[in-house]
Symmetry: C2
Subunit: 440 residues, 2 copies
Amino acid sequence: MSKLSGFPEWLPDQRMIELRVLDRLRTTFELYGFAPLETRAVEPLDQLLRKGETSKEVYLLRRLQAEADSEDDALGLHFDLTVPFARYVLEHAGKLQFPFRRYQIQKVWRGERPQEGRYREFLQADIDVVDRDTLAGHYEAEIPLVIGDALKGLPLPPVRILVNNRKLAEGFYRGIGLTETDEALRAIDKLDKIGPDKVAELLVATAGATEAQAKACLALAEISADDDSFVSLVRALQVDHPLLDEGLAELAAVVETAREHAPGLVGASLKIARGLDYYTGTVYETELAGYEKFGSICSGGRYDNLASSGNNRFPGVGISIGVSRMLGLLFGAEALRISRPVPTAVLVALPHEEDRAAGNRIAAALRARGVPTEVAPSAAKFGKQIRFAERRGIPYVWFPGEPDEVKDIRSGVQVPADAATWSPPDEDLRPAVTMDETAR
Amino acid sequence: MSKLSGFPEWLPDQRMIELRVLDRLRTTFELYGFAPLETRAVEPLDQLLRKGETSKEVYLLRRLQAEADSEDDALGLHFDLTVPFARYVLEHAGKLQFPFRRYQIQKVWRGERPQEGRYREFLQADIDVVDRDTLAGHYEAEIPLVIGDALKGLPLPPVRILVNNRKLAEGFYRGIGLTETDEALRAIDKLDKIGPDKVAELLVATAGATEAQAKACLALAEISADDDSFVSLVRALQVDHPLLDEGLAELAAVVETAREHAPGLVGASLKIARGLDYYTGTVYETELAGYEKFGSICSGGRYDNLASSGNNRFPGVGISIGVSRMLGLLFGAEALRISRPVPTAVLVALPHEEDRAAGNRIAAALRARGVPTEVAPSAAKFGKQIRFAERRGIPYVWFPGEPDEVKDIRSGVQVPADAATWSPPDEDLRPAVTMDETAR
């Protein structure tokens, strides 16, 4: 009966806020032409582990009554939506049109040790664009614009999307003579957690860097800018490599496109590493204003080799909003409110239990015009029926009679009304979600 | 890479149809005042098995890197949404207002052997009303009305909700002197599958019935009616038991209420047993016209003892639409179509790649007024860009110019247009879902 650590469950008012967020995400994704998709929750274990992702702590499945040699034993719950999507694209490539734009909003599971804002079961909202053989660079610029558009329509703190490019980092590391570029990236990824001195030690210890090379890596990681001025800052470090040039051009295009269409949303930040995931170009992380210390709430990047088998290659770019993570932080800070924990706008009161059929007809008339309506649970005294509405924040109580009357129980104003024509004001029709700007 | 048997995955057009169905369900549920809820996908194993439900074939979870004594070993994936909901109500009773109305739309998992229309992972859409201590009978009449309202707004075959009452059946069996009422019910539950002769044999063999008693059970099961006339048909069998009286009155109320508010939707069918689930009163099953042989697509009932611990008791009534099951049947028959497999209504064509920023601004203006818009993937020849739209069923292509023009590529009609004011006709804004009435 006790709560399971790492498996969050919202109360109805919180779930209503979450649905409002999901509705906005979905509407925006569809406005940009992303088609919806869901994949099964399970993948064959070899699929889940093929990038060596044991760090994601996969949950394995076993049937209670499984035979010993059952194939089920090799199934696990997906830990993200990108790996299943890549598998889906390869499996259904013949039935999809490329470039293929899809969004996917689903639960994922990771058996990690639970801690604040980290869950074992959580909801992600992903968008990706994949193409056959080659993927145009402009999609890397579009992805953050979609996210900025979606989130700005919600009562949430502002976000800032920080962008880097794997080619830029790798080209730079190679340009200064490092060969253990993965190890270098892994060290830089720890910058915010352990600070520059420790990262320098790591670079020396694990990436085979000299102190000068470590210093250069840190100098690169310190660079950030809201426009393409980061290019000259990198050039000033006097490192040359063709991969570096490619990365600089790609990152500049992403930042400048965003600056034109959504000023202030995107910044280049050359310390962004995104762990050791499957990314090969642009990478994204997202800060929620006031909650920066909890890390990124929306991350992703370009991947060229995730969906490929034999001669078929489907490079892609995508991003994933950590919906549970973001809302968990905001709920924890009591930053979000909803005006009532039920959809109901009107409660039809009942003078007598025999009036229930008439009450149902009134409710049906209101619902037919989109007004969420409940009929009172019992023909108790009117005071008790009004308290039923009050406790739930239902704003209106309807009294059948000659004529019917409807009461705004907040103001006490009661007026004659016809169920065939009356509607509440727009702002009362749906519960309102608001943000407490002072909450942290 | 191969498909996993029992784990269905829809193509994007099918997922769009599914979402249209879910939107209608959710909107209707909210119009009736049901609040949304999600529970975690996992439950402690003892919770899942406490009704002896090993027949549901629970999937157990194990972390890949679990320590031997890990608590995770006792977790399983939920096999329905009622058991988790009952647990949630007990856990959060102090924070909920009763009677509590909630809807819950989530995946569930059962490790059963896959067969047509039976999945190992599937989507259910549930509504339930629970109250503290006692639950008014009128909720048993309301539940089928909500389902009828929700489904009639969709391009689906008509449904018929068949209703029975556990008290009626149990009272009748006791009235004729049977004591193994569970076994009798279990036998009657097989009526459609094995026929009356085999059921009679079963009643004798497992429920301790005489041939006369078996005949009486079958006579009861044969009764059905669209109004309360079934009461006199049962009375004509001359069986007396207080529980039978209770069940008859409850079932009559459900059928008569439905007859008043939604004629033709609900019928009493005294053979409905609903397996050996936790139901204690009204039970529901639902036939989809033309797909009756595949069994119920929406089932439920009243349960008095599912959510109780010590002195706290929360009787409830609910119903569950098997969304994957229903859509799987309809998709299999190719009965449902959508006019395009993408949300996009307009493709902005690009004369040159340098026009992409201008194309993005046009798209932004259209999206700001709710028109789903994509910008062409590349500034290919216009013929190729138009074919891009054609292949996806995107109805309009926008040509930037002086002035801009928009072309309906189905009719070939091209007219001047301003992105700040032009909208497609309403019927083109969202893809249309239609049913092929001849498909089976």
